[in-house]
C-alpha cells in the first residue's frame, strides 16, 4: 500500500487522510509523491480555521464524511467534474461557505442526490447551503405576487419590522382574523386564524403545559391569560448574504423577538410599495412546516420609515431594549 507523509499532508492508498497546513487559499495537489489522490478522506481538512478557499483537483472522485467540517472561514470551494460522491456532512459547520463552484460539471441524478443529502442545494452551476425555502414554494410565491425580479429592497436597508397586535378585548376581533398559510412544497394556500397560529406556535410550550385543567384551557380561549397580544419582531439584515433566487430575495437576518433572538433566512417579496416577509411557522397539529405572511414596515439605512409610520414607535422600543 502506497503512503505519503510530509509536514502538511498525510495520505495512504490515494486517500488524503489529513491536512495540517495554515493556508488561506489551498489548491490540493493532484499527486502526493507518486501517488494520485482520488479521495478526500473523512475529516481530512476538519477544523482548518484559516482556510478561505479550496480548489479540489481534477481526479478526486470522493469527498469523505466531515471532510471540511468546522472550517469556519471557508467561503468558496471549487469542485471538479470528476467528483461523483460527496458524503454526508462534508461541509457541516462551514458557516461562511457561500459558494461551491462546479467547474465543467454536469450533474447526474446520483451526484445531485449525494450533494443534496450532504446538506447542499444546486442552483445552476453553484451549490448553495440548503437552509433555504423550498424551490417550488418560492416560484409559486413569486407567481402569486407578481414580484419584480429586480432587487426590491432599498439600498442600505438594514432593518425590517413585523408588528401586529391582537386586541380582542377592544372589540377589533383581530385574534380571529384569517391568515393565509402557505404550505411548503405545493404552496397550497389555506387559512387559519391568529388564535390558531398563536396556539400552534405555543403548543408544546408554556401555553399547553401551563394549562393543566379544562378551566385553564377555557381561560386561554377567553384570552384571560393574554388579553392583548402585541407581537413585534425586528429583523436586522446582513447585506452581504442577501441572495436572489427565482425572483424572490432571501435575506439572512437576525430576528429579535422580545428578549430572544435567532438567525434565519427569510424570503421577502415586494409588490408595489407593499413588502411581505414570510416567516417559517411550524404547525404542530399537522407536524409540518409552512410559511405565514407578515406585512412589514421598512426602514432605510438612515432609519426613516418608508411605509409605516407607527413602526417608528416599535423601533424606538427596540432601540431602548438594545441599550438596556
Amino acid at each position: 500500500m502506497a503512503n505519503y507523509m510530509d509536514q502538511v499532508y498525510a495520505a495512504a492508498d490515494g486517500v488524503l487522510l489529513s491536512y495540517a497546513g495554515q493556508d488561506v487559499s489551498l489548491k490540493i495537489t493532484t499527486k502526493l509523491g507518486y501517488m494520485p489522490i482520488h479521495t478526500i478522506g473523512k475529516g481530512a481538512l476538519m477544523d482548518s480555521d484559516k482556510l478561505q478557499q479550496v480548489i479540489v483537483p481534477v481526479g478526486v472522485r470522493r469527498i469523505g464524511e466531515k471532510a471540511f467540517f468546522g472550517c469556519k472561514n471557508l467561503k468558496k470551494v471549487y469542485l471538479p467534474d470528476s467528483v461523483v460522491e460527496v458524503a454526508s456532512c462534508a461541509f457541516c459547520g462551514c458557516h461562511a461557505l457561500r459558494e461551491l463552484i462546479l467547474y465543467d460539471m454536469k450533474l447526474t441524478g446520483q451526484q445531485y442526490q449525494s450533494l443534496v443529502s450532504s446538506g447542499l442545494r444546486v442552483n445552476g452551476s453553484t451549490l448553495l447551503l440548503s437552509d433555504f425555502p423550498d424551490d417550488k414554494f418560492l416560484k409559486d410565491l413569486v407567481a402569486s405576487t407578481s414580484a419584480s425580479p429586480a432587487n426590491p429592497l432599498p439600498l442600505g436597508l438594514k432593518q425590517l419590522f413585523t408588528s401586529y397586535s391582537l386586541e380582542d378585548e377592544k372589540g377589533s376581533g383581530s385574534i380571529d382574523r384569517n391568515l393565509q398559510v402557505y404550505t411548503v412544497g405545493g404552496a397550497e394556500q389555506k387559512t387559519m386564524t391568529e388564535r390558531e397560529a398563536f396556539r400552534s406556535s405555543m403548543s408544546g410550550g408554556f401555553a399547553q403545559t401551563d394549562a393543566k385543567t379544562e378551566e385553564d384551557n377555557d381561560a386561554f380561549e377567553k384570552k384571560d391569560i393574554f388579553p392583548i397580544i402585541v407581537r413585534t419582531a425586528l429583523f436586522t439584515i446582513d447585506d452581504s448574504r442577501t441572495i436572489h433566487r427565482d425572483g424572490a430575495v432571501i435575506v439572512t437576518a437576525v430576528i429579535h423577538f422580545g428578549y430572544h433572538f435567532w438567525q434565519s433566512q427569510v424570503p421577502i417579496v415586494c409588490n408595489g410599495n407593499q413588502y411581505s416577509i414570510y416567516r417559517r411557522h411550524y404547525l404542530t397539529a399537522e407536524q409540518n412546516l409552512c410559511y405565514i405572511r407578515r406585512d412589514v414596515a421598512v426602514f432605510s439605512g438612515d432609519g426613516t420609515v418608508t411605509n409605516q409610520e407607527e413602526a417608528r414607535e416599535v423601533y424606538a422600543r427596540y432601540k431602548l431594549l438594545s441599550i438596556l
Partner: protein, 94 residues
C-alpha cells in the same frame, strides 16, 4: 504499510488535530487497512487507540512514540475509565 510507518502516521494524526478530527482520520485509516487486508494487529492497534484517544494524544506529543508508549497510554485510559465507572456507581451521589 509496516507497523513503524503506521506509528509514524498515528503520531502525526494524533498530534495535529482535535480529538474529533483524529477519530475521523483514524477511522478512515482503519478502513483503508481493512480493505487492503492488512495485518490484524495493526487494525487492533488503531481500534485500541480509538478507545483511548485523550491518552494517546498526550503520548503523541512526546518525542518518542513507540508501541510501548501507546501501551502505557492504553493502561492509563483503562485506569481512567475504571475510576469514572467507580465514581458513577459508588460516588457520593449514590
Amino acid at each position: 504499510m509496516t507497523k513503524d510507518s503506521l506509528l509514524l502516521f498515528m503520531k502525526r494524526i494524533l498530534a495535529n488535530g482535535t480529538e474529533e478530527k483524529s477519530k475521523m482520520v483514524l477511522n478512515q485509516l482503519k478502513e483503508i487497512l481493512s480493505e487492503q487486508k492488512a495485518d490484524n494487529a495493526m487494525i487492533a492497534l488503531i481500534d485500541e487507540t480509538l478507545k483511548s484517544l485523550p491518552e494517546a494524544k498526550t503520548a503523541s506529543h512526546a518525542d518518542s512514540f513507540s508501541e510501548a508508549d501507546l501501551q502505557i497510554a492504553f493502561r492509563r485510559a483503562a485506569d481512567r475509565k475504571r475510576r469514572e465507572m467507580e465514581a458513577a456507581y459508588y460516588g457520593r451521589c449514590r
